[in-house]
């Protein structure tokens, strides 16, 4: 009864041919279109490089000043602002300033990219049930597939460097903002929407006047999640040539440098906490008008 004890596998050779065919197919694809893709993403690369240089060339007190100002604008809280300034001072003092700036640059660009691409997709999903049905499984795959696996085609296509790293980060980080934009719009009070219809609002007036403003708290939760997940990808992205705090962490793993790994890891944590607190308090302030007075 060999059939039951041994799984009826595909023939070894056929399997090898299948894999080969897929590899060859993708290799041909990347040879033909790889350059086009690179050109396509070039503006993004230039922007990323420019932003990173800007952060590094600016004297550190100004950078900290700007960060403090942004934190204050977002959170309107002395505690969070002061905490952020201290965190950056400690990071700089411990010699991680340059890596932190590189990470900051890629996280910012990745977040902007995710917002620009993700929100329209979310809007589309909220408008058409079919779009939702088609896109949801794609998001599931993007979120659950081990990140190393999609690094392979990205690297094959674009080589090693900042752009493939950025794309890898975005693939991992974009699902929350898409999902929460969709959810937020779908959760908008039907009565309010009916009122908009009854006054003759067209699709654009409905979307920008009612749906997006009312979905904003949810959309902001999505932005927050996206930033957190992007930070989580920093170490993996450093494997394909993204500079930043991930590089020393990787070095620490291969050489068993405990202190180095710990310091850089904690720097990532500090960034994450700052981003999280600022974006969360900002999101809460957005819906302040709904907090006071719940009657009616």
């Amino acid at each position: 009864m060999e059939f039951f004890t041994e799984f009826p596998e595909m023939g070894r050779e056929q399997l090898r041919d299948l894999k080969k065919a897929i590899d060859a197919g993708f290799r041909d694809f990347s040879r033909t279109y790889g350059e086009g893709m690179e050109d396509f993403f070039n503006p993004l690369l230039q922007f990323l490089i420019w932003f990173e240089k800007l952060l590094l060339a600016t004297p550190w007190p100004i950078v900290i000043g700007v960060i403090a100002a942004l934190t204050w604008f977002g959170a309107r809280s002395w505690k969070i602002t002061l905490g952020s300034v201290i965190a950056f001072l400690v990071i700089g003092y411990l010699g991680m300033w340059e890596d932190t700036m590189a990470t900051l640059a890629i996280i910012s660009v990745a977040t902007i990219l995710c917002i620009v691409v993700g929100i329209p997709i979310g809007v589309l999903m909220a408008r058409y049930d079919r779009a939702q049905a088609a896109i949801t499984p794609v998001l599931d795959v993007m979120q659950t597939i081990p990140s190393f696996v999609y690094l392979i085609p990205v690297v094959m296509l674009l080589g090693i460097g900042k752009v493939p790293g950025l794309i890898a980060v975005c693939i991992y980080a974009i699902p929350p903002i898409v999902r929460l934009t969709n959810l937020g719009i779908r959760l908008v009070d039907k009565e309010v929407l009916e009122a908009a219809d009854a006054f003759g609002a067209n699709y654009r007036q409905r979307l920008f006047g009612v749906q997006i403003p009312l979905a904003l708290p949810n959309i902001f939760a999505g932005v927050n999640q996206t930033i957190m997940m992007a930070l989580g990808m920093v170490v993996i992205a450093s494997m394909i040539g993204v500079k930043g705090l991930g590089v020393p962490v990787l070095r620490a793993i291969s050489n068993q440098y405990l202190a180095l790994g710990l310091m850089n890891g904690l720097a990532i944590v500090a960034l994450a906490i700052i981003f999280d607190r600022v974006s969360q308090t900002y999101g809460k302030r957005l819906q302040a008008h709904r907090m006071d007075g719940k009657n009616g």
Binding site: D189, E191, V192, E194, A195, A196, D197, A198, F199, G200, A201, N202, Q205, G209, V210, P213, L214, L216, H289, R290, M291, D292, G293, K294, N295, G296
Partner: protein, 354 residues
Amino acid sequence: MAEPKLRIRELYKIFGDTPQKVLPLVKDGMSKAELLDKHGHVLGLRDINIDIPERRIQVIMGLSGSGKSTLIRHINRLIEPTAGDILINGQNVTQMDAGELRDLRRFTASMVFQHFGLLPHRTVQQNVEYGLTIQGIEGADAANRAGHWIERVGLAGYEDRYPGQLSGGMQQRVGLARALATDAEILLMDEAFSALDPLIRTEMQNILLDLQEELHKTIVFITHDLDEALRLGDQIAILRDGEVIQKGEVQDIVLRPADSYIADFTKDINRARVLKVAAIMEPGRKLTSGAAIPASMTIEQALTTLAAAPDGVCAVVGPEGETLGTVSLQGALAAVAPAPPADAEAAESQRYSA
């Protein structure tokens, strides 16, 4: 009476997957229960015909599930009819394309909702401006017009508050101001005051009546509350299970209920306060001596004068003092006792023959 502003003609609404397929069955008289049972479709409205005169308040009354909210949403086509016509100023709403329909909603008919439907992220001022923004009116013009209506509904000083900071009654004032600000000639009010507590509700009714005195809009007012219907309505249509079972003037419905269902409805109301002398007078007869009672007076107000009159008979006069007829104390007392429904005799004889 003026030419009807708004006519609803043979309107049907069936909810379900294939309403057109079951429509003939409904037209042949299949009952709501049978339709649901055999075909899985819900009958929303059946053969609705209502003529709504210009500049009057038409109340549509019914209990929950009677289809009244469905009906009002057909007027601006928030719900698509299965069959039938809705004519506004002679234009058929059911034939309108998307653009015409938007214009209808923007300029001709505005709406007030039971749960207000205000935009929580906008201030009172911005909410009242909403309809104007949709029309494309911005800036100072919109602000002035909105400001005017905010003042008219008594919300001056609250312009910068958010709806969440206001009480229910105040929120509905915002809803009313928003609907009035578009200058639409038709006002659709879907149980607009039902979510408010009784005192506030009376207050809002007063505001509406005061405004109507001056604005003379064509108002379609939905309610489940008979007192409200009698107070506001120039005309009332009563809806049950998606059908109009009686329509007419307020006095008519109270004095001559079409069936026991409506009689039941009207039996608890204070008839002396609702009925007008005009509805119970004997027309034609002239009486020159004694006190005269204006025809628009309620029986309650007339009673003292009647009781003081020599043989309990008074002349009834119109608005210009012309004599219209007479009214007697007995007549007034008889009218205050609940009237039997038109189908009472039939029901009675059925009971005996069974």
